[in-house]
């Protein structure tokens, strides 16, 4: 469209008083009516500042272009000390920065487990003492090119999957998925949890490294694209993707020269864990989101994450600044024996999947789990369709069959969230709030509106300084 056509009846998009739309319809002309609500109170000036920035449109196009063009290949599995330079006593965690005093139960539990795993302490009491005394260093995974599900705790000895964009070489990292039940990421630290971590380190990691060397890079982006067409949204459902991955690796696993018993061990572990792929989808998201960082003026969300105490986001145009609010409760379904009273507030870096355009964004692709959103496949479709309102583009590779293979809504825009009041659809697991309990359910999160309006204000402040 360009120029105003004076010879043709216009098709008029109307926002505001309905009577004007009615008057146009009465003239037998077409109207596209906007269902408009005022933005969150007090943010309108910042919205105007940000959108009036001459760099705005180009900045967002640049940022989301990088995000949606990124591809991730799984290259290797290496210790965190090696790829992240983590020292003993240094721990990464999910979400925005937090200290021991403010850490939630599951995060403390996971840190306790990690301290024991690293041999820093011998028992829980010593770990709590060390944590409380400030004897450990904490930093967000996001600050080190990594992401972690739930508590997201990473320590020096943990094996990390290394993913990279084949074009740019930019890397992203994530731990190996521990499986279900009592696991560190949900804050469990019982001996069997530590034992599992050691098995991951001693058995699974070297085996996978061997297999990957033989197989060559695994195209994780392509697996996501395929899995979206097989009922996964790659956040709360990873069954298809895990199966595809295993199918891809099995030949090389068998021919790896590893002892048969170990091959079986590795195969059965991955096969028995539908969420194994989540820990690859997440760093793929990290590779994409990090590619989009630091475009001045851009309102693209490049990190959206929770530490169980706070929910925080970062924008491309606001550097390393976090915009946080108390972590919300999860509206979910609970495992037998658990209920909302057992649940910790929202936790984990896994919202990197929504940040890259899958997970809750792609709910329409995953009819098997639509009951999280009220039970109707139509509700899942509606939810995904609504996400196009607050995203900048449609993913060129990730598509939704039920929407005629439309690309997933990609590139969350803080400006659009603040304007529409529509918040990102986020799927998530639910951790027990007491340390050591583990997963108690799964469901949906409604991110707190204030993080988006604060982020828009933060961006507006930078725009004004730049002007």
């Amino acid at each position: 469209m360009s120029r105003l056509d004076l010879d043709e009846a216009p098709v008029v998009a109307t926002v505001g008083a309905a009577m004007f739309a009615d008057a146009i319809t009465a003239q037998a002309a077409h109207v596209i009516a906007v269902d408009w609500k005022p933005p969150a109170a007090g943010v309108e000036e910042s919205l105007a500042t940000v959108t009036a920035d001459p760099r705005f449109a180009d900045a967002n196009a640049e940022a989301v272009g990088r995000l949606s063009a990124a591809r991730a290949h799984w290259l290797d599995v290496r210790p965190a000390a090696e790829v992240l330079g983590l020292q003993r006593g240094e721990f990464l965690h999910a979400g925005p920065p937090v200290d021991w005093a403010n850490a939630c139960g599951p995060l403390r539990g996971a840190l306790i487990g990690a301290m024991i795993y690293e041999g820093l302490v011998d028992d829980v009491a010593a770990a709590e003492k060390l944590g409380a005394s400030g004897g450990i260093n904490l930093a967000p995974c996001h600050s080190r090119g990594a992401v972690g599900p739930m508590a997201g705790v990473v320590s020096a000895s943990m094996p990390m999957s290394v993913l990279a964009d084949p074009q740019t070489g930019k890397q992203g990292y994530c731990t190996l998925n521990e499986g279900l039940g009592k696991v560190l990421r949900f804050g469990a630290y019982a001996p069997e949890v530590i034992q599992r971590l050691r098995w991951l380190q001693d058995v699974l990691a070297p085996s996978l490294a061997t297999v990957l060397q033989r197989h060559g890079p695994v195209d994780v982006s392509s697996l996501i694209a395929q899995a979206l067409q097989m009922g996964d949204e790659c956040h709360n459902r990873n069954r298809a993707a895990t199966s595809l991955l295993l199918r891809d690796l099995t030949g090389d696993l068998i021919e790896s020269g590893l002892p048969t018993a170990r091959i079986a061990e590795v195969f059965n572990f991955i096969s028995g864990n539908d969420h194994f792929f989540l820990n690859l989808a997440m760093p793929a998201g990290k590779v994409a989101a990090d590619a989009a960082r630091d475009v001045p003026g851009s309102s693209l969300i490049v990190a959206m994450s929770r530490n169980g105490t706070e929910f925080g986001i970062q924008l491309s145009g606001t550097g390393d600044e976090w915009f946080n609010a108390p972590a919300p409760e999860v509206d979910g379904l609970y495992l037998s024996g658990f209920g909302p009273a057992d649940a910790n507030p929202d936790l984990g870096d896994s919202t990197i999947t929504e940040t890259m355009g899958i997970g809750g964004m792609a709910m329409a692709a995953a009819p098997a789990i639509v009951r999280f959103v009220g039970g109707e496949p139509t509700e899942a479709l509606r939810r995904t369709q609504e996400m196009y309102e607050i995203t900048m583009t449609e993913h060129p590779m990730f598509q939704i069959p039920a929407l005629n293979f439309r690309g997933t809504p990609t590139g969350l825009d803080a400006v659009m969230v603040a304007r529409t009041g529509v918040v990102p659809a986020v799927n998530t697991g639910i951790a027990g709030k007491e340390p050591g309990i583990g997963q108690v359910g799964a469901g949906l999160v409604t991110p707190p509106m204030s993080v988006f309006t604060d982020a828009v204000r933060g961006l507006a402040a930078r725009v004004q300084r730049a002007a």
Binding site: D7, E8, A9, T25, A26, Q27, A28, A29, H30
Partner: protein, 276 residues
């Protein structure tokens, strides 16, 4: 995009009417008949003495014929419903429409500025495959050139020739007639002869369109193409609008363009040489 409306909803709905229908719609009520129905267009035939004797009700993506009224949607409707046009309304069964606004199917052109655009159009028409017009383009060119020279014979021979709801031959003749009418070079006796012949040689709908064309009334795609020839977008504009016109119908758009192009070329640069 287009919903269904309740068949018992008898509210009067707005329509945007071609000014070609003005006298008919604002005149005394006339009985008519709904002779054709597709998803996006209904065709109504009226007594012969009506002008025009056919009108279309269109919506959505339907081609906006110069003798049509546009409506926001076409409702569900039964068989053999009574039709009445006049006294400010178009009534079909339980439904009635009244013009909320008028649109002008006759474009206003700055004739002096046409030649540049005509050359572009002629070149684009020449580039189209010969089979794309629904008739042999040579016959079309001959008929259009003859009309410029004041000879209606070849054009009359072409009426009713070719495939399509509106036969391609009619489209070529309509294009040539419209072009001549718009640059004020149409001999009234030629126009009358072709119009009279159309009434016996082709369908009533197509004949009505030929008569409208002789008054310079065309579909919007053709009007936009003609306007683009004098518009600010230059070659790009003409090329874009020509492609839009070519895309109309199966062969209609190209056939119309052939008639327009040949007549305008002949008028602005003299008769074109017949090709092999």
């Amino acid at each position: 995009m287009l919903g269904k409306v309740n068949a018992h909803d008898s509210a009067i709905r707005p329509a945007w009417c071609s000014t070609a229908l003005r006298r008919l719609v604002e005149g005394p009520p006339r009985r008519g008949e709904l002779v054709g129905r597709s998803t996006y267009a209904w065709y109504v035939e009226l007594p012969d003495e009506c002008d025009p004797p056919v009108l279309a009700l269109v919506t959505g993506p339907a081609v906006r014929l110069p003798i049509c009224a546009g409506v926001l949607l076409l409702p569900e409707i039964g068989e053999a419903v009574p039709v009445e046009v006049g006294a400010g309304r178009i009534v079909i069964g339980e439904h009635s429409w009244q013009p909320a606004r008028w649109w002008e199917p006759r474009p206003v052109l700055n004739v002096q500025e046409l030649p540049g655009g005509v050359c572009i159009l002629a070149a684009m028409v020449a580039d189209e495959p010969a089979g794309a017009f629904g008739i042999d383009p040579q016959f079309g060119r001959r008929a259009a050139s003859a009309l410029v020279a004041g000879d209606p014979g070849p054009a009359i021979d072409l009426l009713g020739a070719g495939p399509g709801l509106t036969p391609a031959g009619d489209d070529v003749v309509a294009g040539a007639l419209a072009a001549l009418a718009l640059v004020d070079r149409l001999d009234p006796t030629v126009a009358a002869a072709v119009s009279a012949a159309a009434k016996v040689r082709t369908s009533r709908l197509s004949a009505a369109l030929v008569v409208a064309a002789a008054r310079g009334q065309v579909i919007p795609e053709a009007a936009r193409l003609l306007r683009s020839m004098t518009g600010p977008d230059g070659i790009d504009g003409v090329t874009r609008q020509a492609r839009m016109l070519f895309a109309v119908g199966g062969t209609s758009g190209r056939a119309l363009a052939l008639g327009l192009s040949t007549a305008l070329t002949t008028v602005t640069t003299g008769p074109i040489q017949e090709e092999r």
